[in-house]
Symmetry: C2
Subunit: 218 residues, 2 copies
């Protein structure tokens, strides 16, 4: 991987990082249709954002488009996948093998985007030494010892909300530096730890509000 293509050199704006996967999904579609080249105007039209924004977002990525010719799709896909971190596997541990936790263990699709969940941990004795989708589940007390050999970089938090902070502290103490928090609790972490919050419930709240507004105005 070309070092200049890695995202390690810049802290990209979060909106850009959220849009780049849309562009990637679209150009992969074009590739499947047998297309060779794509322009930023074409991406902009399809995604529904301003062409200048697409050009700006892609300027962060080390790929050059040519005026009136555009980007080579094959190259753009490779560069975007490398850049977004999807082409290398990041080892992750999942904490809380409940309803949502077990569901995430089932979702093998995450591997295509660079996330490899290598173990689950839970406080319940009856789950110990079971497995979900081929991924082993251990008792939470085994985490520090297992992490020595697993050497995971990401901790996924799917525990009940009242356990979120305690479990986060425990994961960080075990040497994990990035947390993917699925609970609606705002966990606190030291400055040198990354947290990404994915609250499906917050998205539901937005959707329900927009839907009821729609029903009210029709």
């Amino acid at each position: 991987m070309n070092q200049e293509n890695t995202p390690s050199l810049w802290k990209l704006p979060e909106p850009t990082l959220r849009r780049l996967p849309w562009y990637l999904a679209f150009v992969k579609l074009l590739k499947a249709r047998g297309e060779i080249r794509v322009s930023s105007t074409q991406i902009a039209r399809e995604i529904g954002v301003d062409p200048s924004l697409v050009a700006k977002d892609l300027s962060f990525v080390n790929v050059s488009g040519k005026t009136r010719i555009g980007y080579e799709i094959e190259i753009l896909i490779t560069v975007l996948e490398d850049f977004l971190g999807f082409s290398i596997q990041h080892k992750a541990l999942l904490f809380g093998v409940g309803s949502l936790g077990a569901a995430l263990l089932q979702d093998s699709g995450l591997r295509q985007y660079g996330l490899q969940i290598v173990a689950g941990f839970d406080i319940r004795d009856e789950l110990q030494d079971t497995s979900v989708n081929g991924i082993p589940v251990f008792h939470i007390s085994q985490f520090p010892a297992r992490q020595q050999t697993l050497d995971a970089t990401i901790g996924i938090i799917t525990v009940p909300v009242d356990q979120a902070q305690k479990v986060a502290d425990h994961i960080i103490a075990g040497g994990v530096r990035a947390l993917w928090n699925f609970t609606p609790f705002r966990i606190r972490v030291p400055e040198d730890v990354v947290v990404q919050n994915t609250s499906m419930y917050a998205h539901l709240a937005v959707m329900f509000n927009r839907l009821s507004l729609l029903n009210h105005t029709k």
Copy 2:
């Protein structure tokens, strides 16, 4: 439910709608600890946002706090759950019973937040008339007929990215007015249809970038 507490009367700012579930999760924790009242300052400190922002967010909700006494926790929880649409069940259909789709069917926790998935649909014949977590799975061709009796208001899209737009069009033609899109494809919809995008891959991209930045600077 008090009509004035329903979210139908205002189009709330999306950031407010995303923060309210955090406040709800926190005050539910306080209730479990036996607390009776909470101040906006206390919420602000715990969540890590500005107190004036908490007060502003809560001003959208029809609940009154008293100076130096704060909000009654029991009332605040009920009002927030009603307001966010979590206390009534919204019927949803899921399209694409693949890895992520089946995982979402497994996640019974969504019901606590007002989302009741009543059926899954897939194009694969072998999945027809199976069930996941007690939820029946039908062939996609049965959708228009099933929707007549199911009368669902939300369509969850977990199909492969190259099918996203086609399936979205099909769902809308069947009379569903809100789409929860889990694909990284930006689907287009008429103005009177609500779309909520939840791209787990975009969140992964942000997390990977922040993590590699961390590794680079240490």
